[in-house]
């Protein structure tokens, strides 16, 4: 089985599992902070099949719903200190 290991590689090999938000951010930051060697042609790299495109989603107009809402109320500013609970009788 092929592997990326090169004898005497002068590079530190960082492998990130998971190409989501954290992994991609890390790869970007590493590439920005450290010299990244040019990619050599590696036969182990499998071509990634690209599925055919589908049209972008478009918003669909909808008729306005008829909301049944209670009448709005105005509550004025309140500042309050939350009281300590009443002491429980002991004994």
């Amino acid at each position: 089985m092929e592997s990326y290991r090169e004898p005497m590689s002068p590079s530190r090999r960082v492998v990130i599992v998971g190409g989501g938000m954290a992994g991609t951010r890390l790869a970007q930051q590493l590439a920005a902070r450290a010299p990244v060697p040019a990619l050599r042609p590696v036969s182990a790299l499998r071509p990634v099949p690209v599925p055919p495109p589908v049209p972008a989603l478009r918003p669909v107009p909808v008729p306005p719903p008829v909301p049944v809402l209670p009448p709005p109320v105005l509550v004025l500013s309140v500042r309050a200190r939350v009281p300590a609970p009443a002491p429980t009788p002991t004994g």
């Binding site: 960082v14 492998v15 990130i16 938000m21 992994g23 790869a27 495109p53 049944v68």
Partner: protein, 490 residues
Amino acid sequence: MTVEVTIIGEEPHPAYNRVLLAEVLAGRYAPEVIALPAPAAGVRRLSGVRVVRIDRPTAEVVCDDGRRVPYDALVLATGSNPVLPPLRGLFEPDGHELPDGVHAFRTMDDCLALGAAVRPGARAVVIGGGLLGVSAARALAQRGAQVVLAHQGEHLMERQLDPGASGLLLRHMAALGVEVHTECRVRGLCTRTVDGEGGGGRAVSAVELADGYALEADLVVLACGVRPRVGLARAAGLEVARGVVIDDELRTSDPRVFAIGDCAEHAGIVYGLAGAAQEQADVLAHRLSPTPPLPEPMVLRPLDPQEGPAPEPAPEDRFVGNRSAEWAPPSGSWGRNGWAQTGHRAAPGDETPTRHTDAVPADHPACAQTDHRAAPGDETVPQYHGTRTLTRLTLTAVPGSAGGSASGTDGPLDLAAFGNPTPAPGDDVIHLTDATRNTYRKVVVRGDRLLGGILLGDLGTVGALARTWESNEPLPATPLLHLLTNDGGS
């Protein structure tokens, strides 16, 4: 010394901003618009490839196509899986396939499959009234579906909102045409047999409630939370609690293996938030950049050129969801959208609809800031001490509806929440509600520190509040009401 970065991801798509998936579902953005900027040319990216095993003795990962990739440092950023609730009828006995019409809401494929299935007038039931469920329900309503949201808890978005703020959110959802049922437990799904390619399949027809009622449904969205993907780590013998346990240097119990993002657990907290994932990635980038030395390798055995076929993935890492939708971005059009920003740093006019959320109790030790400075006695290694971020969500109005605000003007409903908005005895609460304008503002103060807060409808003061919260600074001496009325009195 250079760094050779290989990123292996099982999703076939270029990396994207998951936080914006609801906007793709709503039809507001095309999928390519939410792409993350591609890493530099030197970064090797293997897409559509799943890692099925970590071979720690040889320091290699094993992929589902049999290839082995060696590492000097391994980073687990495997995210989380949607929680699939134990509903009668969700799976057939011994089956792993969801019925047609039932979707999780985690990946681009989920989003595209949902988007392809939704039609104007379709009956959609969203199960779960947290941030995900609310976002999905709003997006489906925007696509013209008749949406019912069934939420087991007492009020919507319980992790972020108190009952008062949640009440206003509920009014907004109702005005968007979403029917919300709280304290509503779903018991099971009813399905019907449908013709499929490989024989008969099942499609959802209704959602059964615990009180005996049933909601007819063409589509069901499961938005019942997420669980960290820890199967790889556990199988490799790394310490796992709820997530993969990491220390302040983002190291797992193996010093050559690190974990970040939704799969990681730091100081007992699994964040499940984009902001924390980003901070952890940034700290780790410092850590893995050439200067600081990596720990000595473990005992290595030579590579076995005859290794057998790749093992099956751990069951908990197997993705359960919908079949992939056909999709590819138009080439060259990726990269407009970057990272979700912490709320107050958003540029004016930035329409990014959803931002960070915060799950951390304010008095938790993790509420210290990320510390990029050197640790005492160590000039090189940055430390991570937890993330304090703010939840922001914008619920866009359905065009033509009165949903923008209860006052009847069209427009989005903005909300922001942080910390712990539930006061304890002795805490101060400052509260300003105007239901005539659909605004709700509340902060909880303990001593001279902000403990938590909620803003809904009017986020004018969010900048100063977020700064004060994120830096954990003492509050200004101005009257506390200024926190809610004039951008923090600053």
